[in-house]
Amino acid sequence: MSKAINKTLASYRWQLKGLLHLLLLCPLFYCVLAVVNGWWGGDPVQAIIHYLANSALNILVIALCLAPVSRKFKLPSLLAYRRLIGLYVFVYALLHLAAYLVIDLGLDWQLFWQENIQRPYIWLGMIAFVVLLAMSITSLKALQQKLGRRWLQLHGFVYPITLLVLVHFWWSLKSGWLEPVLYLVVVAGLFSLRKLQIQRWLGSFNNTNHTK
């Protein structure tokens, strides 16, 4: 069974990637549809910002699932799709940030920088965004090879930024904590499945001369 799936994943790569693009763009289409049709009320600014953020987070969780799933079901071909999915995390994070800057702050750059400095939950989000940006730029194949071990180190930052994003989420809520905690439980589960990889990543900063 897994062999057949593997084969399909490998041989229809371009078609499946096309389909994946369409699927990952669905939240954006839904967002536009909801705003245009007034499903989110008379002033959907907050809804747009939160929806885009949640889309980024949901896709991040999906991306984090790929490695354990591919290991458990012996589907190495699945990993070929991880970069594409990861890039959409960045796309939605960028849209989330753009929505905040443009429709909430009305492109008031002074206020934007001021808020970035003064609000802990905003700079947590900003740190996560900058790391995501670096990961996205270095996802180019050529850079990937050039950076080698450094590339692995950089992309291992997906673990801490996932946690940062959850704190950013929790601190941004006016009341309640249930939703970020639900995400935290899922993320903790996913992290525990790759304890070894995380340990190895943390270790890579200690003895920088060590190569495997």
Partner: protein, 335 residues
């Protein structure tokens, strides 16, 4: 000759949904197990909801027209379009997302309604709202509404002075504060039934004012907006409107008003005292810990991208009327 003028808000008789069809539709919607399960999830910003329910249903409340005297506004602001003011609401009893109240309050029935005024008063009263509305001379007042989340609207309210109402019970000289309470009815208010929907707040929602604030001529009891009775999501049938304070002070769907000699607890202050004070006066110089209060996004008839931020004014521009209430007070401490 008998002429009937059709007002612009009137729907033709032919547009009325037959009751049978309306009920049938409700049952179909209830039948969607998935939608039911999804509604258990917290509604903040449609989080976790790539599957939102977006059914349009007629509201349970029929809003009726009100006769009122127009009071000239204190500022020259353009009104927020009614469609926006009744579809963008903070009313956690009906859910935490801005569009939850309009969706989740369709079954809310505020008729009949009575409320109590008691505590340190000579004549405690339980009043029938219809009687009160018939007896009070209704006024229309156009007020700015500034939300603590840094957005604002300009709304024509219909109602009467809070002080005119409070004078009827003859407060005792020992009374120093007035406490307000929202209806507690989990059957009608899903946010009170489930912590997931209601944002984990302990209900009923409570608010309070110092007596002199309550007696200020600006303090207003609204029973309507845009010339009609209030819709459920805006606090039907009776709510407070305090234009110089952040919106959360203007408590909705009031069932009880109580005179006390100690500062009454207030819901958001209990929930997060370093973010929401008892006074909650609009003050551009005192930031909320998570965002600046120096400017605000005015919700007007401009589209999403055409909107500009405007500077927030001290006491929301009502300083002339209320600043004397806070003389000699450190407003960074008593925020």
């Amino acid at each position: 000759m008998w002429l009937k003028f059709k007002r612009d808000w009137e729907e033709p008789e032919s547009a009325v949904t037959p009751e049978a069809l309306f009920k049938q539709r409700r049952n179909i919607i209830k039948g969607f197990g998935v939608a039911g399960a999804a509604s258990l999830l917290p509604a903040t910003g449609h989080a976790a909801s790539w599957f939102g329910g977006d059914d349009e249903e007629p509201a349970a409340i029929v809003r009726r027209a009100l006769n009122k005297t127009d009071i000239p506004p204190l500022h020259n602001d353009a009104l927020t379009p009614e469609a926006k003011a009744i579809s963008h609401n903070n009313f956690y009893e009906f859910g935490t997302a801005k569009d939850d109240p309009v969706k989740n309050s369709r079954q809310f029935n505020p008729n009949p309604w009575s409320f109590t005024i008691d505590g340190l008063v000579e004549k405690p009263l339980t009043l029938d709202l219809d009687d009160v509305m018939a007896k009070m001379a209704l006024e229309q007042r156009i007020y700015r509404l500034r939300c603590v989340e840094a957005w604002s609207m300009v709304i024509p309210w219909v109602g009467f002075s809070l002080s005119d109402l409070l004078k009827q019970v003859k407060p005792l000289s020992s009374a120093r504060y007035v406490a307000f309470e929202t209806l507690y009815d989990p059957e009608q208010m899903p946010g009170q039934k489930s912590r997931f929907v209601g944002g984990g707040i302990n209900y009923p929602y409570v608010e309070g004012l110092r007596l002199d604030e309550a007696m200020n001529p600006l303090s207003f009891m609204a029973v309507g907006m845009y010339g009609k009775t209030l819709p459920a999501q805006n606090g039907a049938p009776l709510r407070l409107v305090l234009p110089w304070k952040y919106g959360f002070k203007s408590i909705k769907s009031i069932v009880r008003i109580r005179f006390t000699d100690v500062e009454p607890p207030t819901t958001w202050n209990i929930l997060s005292p370093h973010e929401y004070g008892f006074y909650a006066n609009v003050n551009p110089k005192v930031d909320h810990p998570r965002w600046s209060q120096a400017s605000e996004r005015r919700i007007d008839d401009a589209g999403l991208l055409g909107r500009k931020r405007i500077d927030t004014e001290m006491f929301n521009g009502y300083g002339e009327q209320v600043a004397h209430l806070y003389k000699n007070m450190d407003l960074t401490r008593y925020f």
